[in-house]
């Protein structure tokens, strides 16, 4: 089956995806589906989207040949897809600009979002400021502590950050609380989900807004190398930067695709975020997908040093490609991610987000084993400024 044929009309990717939500939200999802379909074929919408992505976000993001890193690793050539260079410092804004334009089209005046690392929150607050929308961002109390800088950025942008104290106080609970708020405000509010998760049509819409990462990559690598890469590597929390990079490559069967999940303190400790590698199918946040849960079906806590990967679920399209074998999934521990973080900082002068550091760390393991004529593209989904305080603390350094 071709990648473009999924999801089917019901929003399913094989057995995954769907719309597992309370009746109250069903009409809004149908409406969103119809509206999105219209927007896709509306030249004006596409023109607006293109304009903001170019002039405001700064696209296309560069595909940078990391020569120093390549030398250091001594194997395959490593290219970085520089999503960290986007306005607001991560790939998240590709989706929030598109989604904010959809919101305007709906005539709604308020948007809500969930956030883990704060990158999606900042990106939503940014788009809301740009388009004059009211914006509330739900964020777990634990993450508010870990990501104080992003909290302040959101406030500067005019958004309200609503602390979530239920459950594990991280991304999972922030998402639950955003959905509860949406159940209450659905008639006036659009929920901008930050990843390829949630009920249909969200996983499809977010993927479509993020696929520009892969589309540009194809164009850029053709230009510099006159061929496609051998491997694409990206980190997977919910899975939006990875799906954005991978999706245009799905039908190019010769290109290997590797998603890197958080192994946290180590898979054997049970404290990780590797739902694809170590979870099972289940339903959370409106979709069927791989999920971490106990024998009774209760969702388990995830753990990762990076707030953006600290999520027990994952995008349903990833689940589908995990089962078909088209995408391979690997894991990287907190400690390995920190090594990746330092490696890229020192060799290339690029401080990566802790999330993206997982992908870097995996490439550091992989590249030396491959010959020098092989090409790896790794998605540098965000910059690491937001993580600096946390890492200093971990290294015992007082800033």
């Amino acid at each position: 089956m071709k990648a473009a044929e999924l999801p089917n009309a019901k929003g399913h990717f094989g057995m995954y995806g769907g719309k597992y939500v309370i009746e109250t939200l069903m009409p809004a999802l149908k409406e969103l589906e119809a509206l999105y379909k219209e927007a896709q074929t509306d030249p004006q919408f596409q023109k607006d989207l293109k304009y903001y992505l170019k002039q405001y976000v700064g696209r296309p993001s560069s595909l940078y040949f990391a020569e120093n890193l390549t030398k250091e690793l001594g194997g395959a050539k490593v290219y970085l897809k520089r999503e960290d260079l986007n306005h607001t410092g991560a790939h998240k804004i590709n989706n929030t600009i598109g989604s904010a334009l959809l919101t305007l089209r709906m005539g709604k005046k308020r948007v809500i979002a969930e956030t883990g690392a704060g990158q999606h929150g900042v990106a939503t607050a940014t788009a809301a400021a740009l388009f004059g929308l009211e914006c509330d961002v739900f964020m777990g109390e634990e993450d508010i502590k870990r990501q104080a800088l992003n909290v302040f950025r959101m406030q500067l942008l005019g958004a309200k950050v609503i602390p979530v104290s239920s459950g594990t106080r991280t991304l999972k609970d922030a998402t639950s609380e955003a959905i509860r708020n949406w159940i209450t405000t659905v008639e006036t509010t659009h929920y901008i989900i930050g990843s390829v998760v949630g009920p249909h049509p969200y996983p499809m819409i977010v993927r479509d807004f993020q696929k520009i990462i892969g589309e540009e990559t194809i164009e850029q690598i053709q230009e510099t190398e006159q061929r496609l890469p051998d491997l694409c590597v990206a980190c997977v929390g919910g899975g939006s930067n990875s799906m954005g990079l991978f999706y245009p490559f799905i039908d190019h069967k010769d290109v290997g695709l590797i998603g890197v999940e958080a192994a946290g303190l180590g898979i054997e400790t049970g404290k990780h975020g590797a739902s694809l590698s170590h979870g099972n199918n289940g339903v959370l946040h409106g979709m069927m997908s791989y999920l971490l849960y106990d024998d009774d079906g209760q969702v388990q806590e995830a753990h990762s040093i990076s707030a953006g990967l600290d999520y027990p679920g994952v995008g349903c399209e990833h689940s589908y490609y995990k089962d078909t074998g088209r995408i391979q999934y690997e894991t990287i521990t907190d400690d390995e991610a920190l090594e990746g973080f330092q490696l890229l900082s020192k060799t290339e002068g690029i401080i990566p987000a802790l999330e993206s550091s997982h992908a870097i760390a995996h490439v550091a393991k992989l590249a030396p084993k491959l010959s020098k004529d092989k090409i790896i593209v790794v998605c540098l989904s965000g910059r690491g400024d937001k993580d600096v305080t946390q890492i200093a603390e971990r290294m015992g350094i007082q800033l």
């Binding site: 019901k10 769907g18 719309k19 597992y20 939500v21 309370i22 009746e23 109250t24 939200l25 069903m26 009409p27 809004a28 149908k30 239920s166 459950g167 999972k172 609970d173 639950s176 959905i179 509860r180 159940i183 209450t184 405000t185 659905v186 008639e187 199918n281 289940g282 339903v283 959370l284 946040h285 409106g286 999920l291 849960y293 024998d295 009774d296 079906g297 209760q298 969702v299």
Partner: protein, 266 residues
């Protein structure tokens, strides 16, 4: 005829309205649930809805979220709840409905769950995050075993959805009175009458109003335009407030149920 149908037939022939009482199973433990069940039965509830706790109950407000947490903390599982129902069935014929998020049922294995629930004496199930679009397999199997699959309608439901749910819901139709999560509200939302009339036109099945009903006055108003009410958070709140003293807790719940019962039967 199912216990639920039978109950509604009796109520209709006596021109009375139904009182459905919701409590979270295992809050604070399963022994208390058994005790509370009999208190609720004695004081006039027509159906008891047992909430299956879930780690991430998306349709619930803070009161039921917290009760879910208390229950899970004490080790409640769906299996234990099914066992509890078979215990209760030894001396009660009151209709019992389980309300659960889908994941516990999915992980249990939905066919196994339906089989076990039916043999324990469960009469119906409500799975809020499983709309008709996703429910086909579970629904067909439940129907084949005589377990009523009860669907929800909401203020946002469009006419085509009212039609679909009206046709597919068994036992009764659960009308979510407000655009929001569970929890008591000070008054009924505007526009509720129009929607209930629309549902009535689409179906002969009983329509019950839930979400946000806090006490006798709202119960009276809501039942005036429906077949009865579902009350959850108001009861769960009493259980939470008097957790230290089971005797007082039971007495408070008894008084509350009885006051609603009086209102609905008068």
């Amino acid at each position: 005829m199912s216990r639920i149908e039978e109950r509604f037939n009796t109520l209709r022939s006596n021109n009375q309205k139904a009182l459905v009482a919701f409590i979270t199973a295992g809050d604070p433990d399963l022994e208390s649930t058994r005790q509370l069940f009999s208190v609720i039965e004695k004081n006039g509830a027509d159906i008891v809805e047992l909430g299956v706790p879930f780690s991430d109950p998306l349709a619930d407000g803070p009161v039921i979220q917290k009760s879910s947490q208390r229950s899970l903390k004490n080790g409640t599982t769906l299996k234990k709840i099914v066992n509890l129902v078979s215990e209760i069935r030894k001396d009660s014929e009151l209709p019992i409905v389980l309300m659960s998020s889908f994941n516990p049922i999915h992980v249990y294995g939905f066919r196994q769950f339906v089989d076990d629930a039916v043999s324990a004496g469960v009469d119906g199930i409500i799975v809020p995050d499983l709309p008709p679009e996703e429910s086909k397999e579970l629904e067909d199997y439940a129907n084949s075993k005589g377990l009523d699959m009860i669907f929800l309608l909401a203020p946002t439901s469009t006419p085509d959805r009212v039609e679909m749910v009206a046709q597919r819901s068994r036992g009764f139709i659960y009308y979510v009175s407000l655009t929001g999560t569970t929890g008591v509200r000070s008054q009924l939302p505007p526009g509720i009458e129009t929607k209930l009339l629309e549902i009535r036109k689409a179906s002969e099945r009983p329509v019950l109003v839930g979400f946000g009903i806090s006490g006798p006055e709202q119960a009276r108003q809501a039942s005036g335009i429906s077949d009865g009410v579902i009350i959850g958070s108001a009861i769960v709140k009493l259980i939470e407030e008097h957790s230290g003293n089971p005797e007082i807790r039971d007495q408070k719940v008894a008084e509350f149920i009885s006051s609603i019962h009086q209102t609905l039967k008068s």
